[in-house]
Amino acid sequence: MDFTLSKEHEMARSLFREFAEKEVKPLAQEVDETEVFPRETVEKMAKLGFLGIPVPKEYGGQGCDPLTYAMCVEELSKVCGTTGVIVSAHTSLCCDPIMTYGTEEQKQKYLVPLAKGEKLGAFGLTEPGAGTDAQGQQTKAVLEGDEWVLNGSKCFITNGKEADVYVIFAITGTVEKRGRMQKEISAFIVEKGTPGFTFGTKEKKMGIRGSSTYELIFTDCRIPKDNMLGQQGKGFNIAMHTLDGGRIGIASQALGLAEGALENTVAYVKERKQFGRAIGAFQNTQFQLADMATKVEAAQLLVYKAAMAKATQKVYSVEAAKAKLYAAEVAMEVTTKAVQLHGGYGYIREYDVERMMRDAKITEIYEGTSEVQRMVISGALLK
């Protein structure tokens, strides 16, 4: 067992880090403060292929492995959680299901421009009444001639309104399963601008405030029959498999936030003086940092292991759930401790750890709460 990264991965990391430091970090505070989606950064990333890292070259991507993609989200999130989630939602939740379940025509039409970053992607599963309970879907799709007609709404959609291509889940009927009638869910590709597809209000959030979170509203929204993604009735499986990948992306975001907070804190405690010496000279500080660093590294190992599992295994739900559960909780713990070690300065917005703590909280909630991750992990244990 060898824990050293290949030279390629090391160089890719240095690329992501350089980009994050030069192009993303200077804007992070402003993006948070103004809640404005960082369009220009997304365009820069598109030009460099950051929006299609794990997509094969023949579909306009970079042809890299999931680990390279995870490192990209990690490094971006180290300086800006908003930028990290934009890439994660686009790649894991939109490119990935089209790559996995799309027809050749769908791949050419949607995946190629998504991977090249000419278009941005999003994913709509959650509804006001269907969060953790994905079966509680209300959005319906009815086939009328050559078109599916969508009615309903989706909420808390990352990259909402900014994205051009949406993977949307809707009920297409009912099926009998073990003697019970269950909703049959299917997946669709919906383009922005389709008549009947509109956006509700923009959410005002605690963290990742530059990411655009919207309600999606479908009112007799007609999409071509060919825009069904995967087989009819396989929507639930597609959603769950997609979220397995998405969780690796969010775990990487959480990891980046924890690492960023740790780096900031290490620099701060060397500089900040109290009682005539740097606060890093106090044992409390040292022990806190030791715990933070240990947990961050443990989180990194889980995240990288999950990314490698996605590259080599067909099913990686448990690896992804463990990585997300742990990285998200470490992110929350480490950013909170980082604020504490910064004292009063940690509570004001001039210092990045204040934002990182707010950004970290969502990683315990979206794409499956920590409780859902525990269900996945224990479910596999008790199978």
């Binding site: 970090k25 200077p26 620099a267 701060y268 060397k270 500089e271 003086k273 001039e350």
Partner: protein
């Protein structure tokens, strides 16, 4: 190579538009010291077109002899004809030491000539002296005397190296502008002027100058400034930066600032020093009303001299300042400007 044949300290007397550059006088000042130690003469090499008249000026600044290479091909600086001229002078006159200014011309001409005459060249020297190589007697190695020891910063100023060129001649160095002292000109001094023309035959290496564009003063880049007067939140208001601007003007410096000042909208971002701004390395950095947060210090700690003025005696800026003054900047800075004005006026008189 018979090293004994090589005699005298030579200076490339750079001229632009038939006006001798200040660096030439600085080099003559240093050459005079070196020549004294070696008991030899100072020769200026003047290269250009229609430049004979400048020889007297070089004599006034310390040249015993002036070699003039005057040819229409040498009107404006081009690497090849100038390199040919200087290399030919070296091959004919065999100087022991050849000094060139570390200017945009000298840093092009120096390496080309050194490669042509097959000798070493030490770049951007800040100290030149005559001494022994090796510095200390070393068993098994002959200690050579009367060597040119050339000291220069490297690694972005983080290291200092002293270099010798013991087995090749001439010993060549480019020298940083503004480091060596000119002598007080000796009015009416005359040098032995000798004209020399090695002949110029244009070939592929003679590039063609299509246009010469003289730059009008642009906005100053704080990274190029030799003196920076930098203000922080302690300055109090955008209007109060006037007192910093006055100080900068007296010293020929530029105003810069901390991040707090940019965030407050008092100054534009391109004047910001620090991690999220620019990294600067001026000769003198005045930190006025700047507390010295680590983000700021990272961008200026390599300055040669740091002068800090702050009313808070515990401000971290004092940990990096060479000269820290605890006090009210509003009282000190205007008085400092006046005092420096008086000093500079007195020095000129």
């Amino acid at each position: 190579m018979n090293l004994e044949e090589y005699k005298g300290v030579y200076v490339f007397a750079q001229q632009v538009d038939n006006e001798v550059s200040s660096i030439a006088f600085e080099l003559l000042g240093k050459a005079k010291d070196l020549a004294k130690d070696l008991n030899t003469e100072v020769t200026a090499v003047l290269i250009g077109s229609g430049i004979k008249g400048l020889a007297d000026q070089l004599a006034e600044y310390g040249a015993d002899k002036v070699i003039v290479v005057d040819d229409p091909e040498l009107k404006d600086y081009r690497t090849e004809p100038y390199a040919h001229a200087l290399a030919s002078v070296i091959n004919k006159y065999k100087p022991e030491i050849m000094l060139v200014g570390a200017t945009a011309i000298g840093r092009d001409l120096g390496p080309r000539v050194s490669a042509r005459v097959a000798t070493g060249l030490t770049a951007d020297c800040t100290v030149l002296e005559i001494g022994d190589f090796p510095l200390q007697p070393t068993p098994g190695q002959e200690q050579l005397h009367n060597q040119l020891l050339m000291t220069r910063p490297a690694f972005g100023g983080n290291t200092i190296a002293t270099i010798a060129c013991p087995y090749n001649r001439p010993q060549m160095a480019t020298v940083r502008a503004g480091v060596m002292q000119k002598i007080t000109p000796i009015k009416g001094a005359k040098a032995n002027v000798e004209e020399f023309n090695p002949g110029f035959t244009p070939d592929n290496k003679y590039v063609e100058i299509l246009d010469i564009v003289k730059s009008v003063a642009e906005t100053v880049d704080i990274m190029d400034a030799k003196i920076l007067v930098s203000g922080g939140r302690g300055v109090g208001s955008p209007e109060n930066f006037k007192i910093l601007e006055d100080l900068a003007e007296v010293l020929g410096g530029t105003v810069s600032c901390s991040r707090a000042v940019v965030d407050s909208g008092w100054k534009p971002k391109d004047l910001q020093v620090g991690q999220t701004g620019k990294t600067v390395r001026p000769n003198v950095y005045f930190a006025i009303g700047i507390s010295g947060a680590i983000q700021h210090v990272a961008g200026m700690e390599e300055s040669d001299i740091i002068v800090a003025i702050n009313k808070d005696a515990d401000a971290p800026i004092f940990d990096v300042a060479d000269y820290g003054v605890v006090g009210d900047l509003n009282k000190i800075v205007p008085k400092l400007t006046e005092a420096l004005k008086a000093e500079i006026a007195a020095a000129k008189a």
